[in-house]
């Protein structure tokens, strides 16, 4: 007897967000990237549409990432001095869909670089690659608030994805995105209520920004509370599909940042003989974390290891195959 598969019907969908802008659209990108738009839970093609495949952004820095282990660092050894070349290598050789640049140099405890220095780097990267860009500051809000405006202005019309707006500090990024036509990352600390509230706060500044928000729910690496991120995302996505417009945004995860700061990615086999080869272990750690997040509905994965990127892109290909 044929078994009829029960299909869930949802009444709403995730918003579709376009990143980057081509020449016709006021930018200089060779192509734009669309994310979101799902009308069903992740990859359940038989229940609805997953119109845009999840994408992988590769993370680059504007300084040499001394803290990265040799097994990761070695892939980029030839391009550290030139963020443009680094970005190009990620796109051309490793298949990055987007580039996420982190302006580490702006950190007052590192180089305290000025907005102008960051802008010069950004321009090099914009010239070097045609993919849309994600821009992160140094992670220290006080400094980031002073550089985000000038950076947004210098790249006006490019529709960068600007990071990060938080509940206690969203106005600088939101104003920059609003004034210079960029998109915005709304980050909440593994807290669905704050994720929703932050979107409302941003919408109060500018309603059109609602269609340019990407939620960063904050993810944890495998072994560090990944399941909390997973259940938050699951709940948000159910809410979105059932009509909660304030949670119906595509999502982004800083996978590389989380994974590569953990001891499992860094400690050598000599130190922990039972843990196996560090290079293989760390790559697997990044892929596994990313794969779990894909299942939770993550739309943009920001990753570091070229080998991990390759594997996860293969998995995305398979997951995007029609199963209806």
């Amino acid at each position: 007897m044929a078994v009829e598969i029960f299909k869930e019907k949802y009444r709403s969908q995730v918003r579709e967000v376009v990143l980057g802008a081509t020449k016709d659209e006021g930018g200089t990108r060779a192509q734009t990237v669309k994310v979101g738009g799902e009308t069903a839970l992740p990859f359940l093609h038989f229940e609805g549409k997953v119109p845009n495949r999840p994408v992988v952004a590769m993370e680059i820095w504007d300084i040499v990432p001394e803290e990265w282990p040799a097994s990761l660092k070695s892939y980029f050894e030839d391009v550290y001095s030139d963020p443009g070349a680094w970005a190009r290598k990620c796109v051309e050789q490793y298949g990055a869909d987007l580039i996420a640049i982190r302006f580490k140099s702006a950190d007052p405890d590192i180089k305290d670089a000025s907005a102008e220095e960051c802008i010069a780097t950004l321009k090099k990267v914009l010239e070097a690659v045609g993919v849309p860009l994600i821009v992160y500051g140094c992670g220290k809000a006080e400094k980031d608030n002073t550089i985000i405006g000038p950076i947004a202005e210098a790249a006006a019309g490019e529709n960068l994805l600007l990071g990060v707006a938080e509940q206690d500090n969203y106005k600088a990024v939101a104003s920059a995105a609003m004034a210079h036509k960029h998109s915005i990352i709304a980050q909440s600390p593994i807290d669905i209520n704050i994720a929703k509230q932050l979107n409302i706060l941003i919408a109060e500044m500018s309603t059109p920004l609602l269609d340019r928000i990407v939620i960063d729910p904050t993810v944890a690496a495998l072994g560090y509370g990944l399941e909390y991120s997973y259940s938050i995302m699951e709940r948000a996505r159910f809410g979105a599909l059932q009509g909660d417009r304030m949670l119906a945004m595509p999502t982004i995860a800083n996978v590389g940042h989380e994974v590569w700061s953990k001891k499992e990615a860094n400690i050598s086999e000599e130190e922990q003989p039972g843990w196996g080869d560090q290079a293989e272990r760390s790559l697997t750690w990044e892929v596994t974390t990313a794969a779990a997040l894909l299942q939770a509905g993550m739309d943009i994965l920001v990753m570091r290891h070229p080998g991990a990127v390759k594997l996860i892109k293969k998995q995305i290909d398979e997951l995007m195959q029609d199963n209806s």
């Binding site: 669905i192 209520n193 417009r245």
Partner: protein, 264 residues
Amino acid sequence: MIIIGERINGMFRDIAKAIREKDPRAVQEWARKQEAMGAGYLDINVGPAVADRVSAMRWLVEVAQEATKLPLCLDSTDYDAIEAGLEICKQPAMINSVPAIAEKMDRIFTMASKYNAEVIGLAMNEEGIPKDAESRVALAMELVANCDAYGIPIDSLYIDPLALPCNVGQAHGPEVFETLRQIKLLSDPPPKTVVGLSNISQGTKNRELINRNFAVMAMACGLDAAIADACDEELVAAVATARVLLNMDIYCDSYVDVFRSQNQ
């Protein structure tokens, strides 16, 4: 809980006057106001004093639709008037209402099927409003069976268990709550439920307090919709809060505002 805004009703003097003088202003003002305050549907009732209900209904629907995109709930005991309204509704409407009486169900469910409308079914028949939950549920089942027989999706049927004013029929209260619970067990998917909220407090001196307490208690029993005063801010806030407490909406600090703006 969906609020079906009750204010466009010929029982109110300004609406009666608007119908009499064919002056759409009051109707359109209330349409916009109720929408802004959180109504999900607008009840349209020509009231008791109108001679030609059919043309009055048609006019009310026309002018209301100029002011709002909300779906309408056509409220009349004159089924010709309801049909006249359905003919010109720009989106699927709700019919208010039909009792569990065979010939009336025939007419209404045929109409609902033709115009793709939702239906409010009253848990009463020729013998009037039942006293207990059991009899109300039996009538609800008759409505469900008829709805199904006409090929109308069961979740397009809203059953009103009929609550009486609490100062008159106090004993009905618990029966109504029990009916709401049991209706959800009648079918899968179950029918929806609705009450005429202002009815509960008719003739009392604490109308808003009684209305919002009843609304919250009924929601906990599975109430899906109420014909109510959408401009009662405390009521809307209570409903938004109950939705959060029942885990129907995800909490955030601005949840009341989010609930109010959800139809906009």
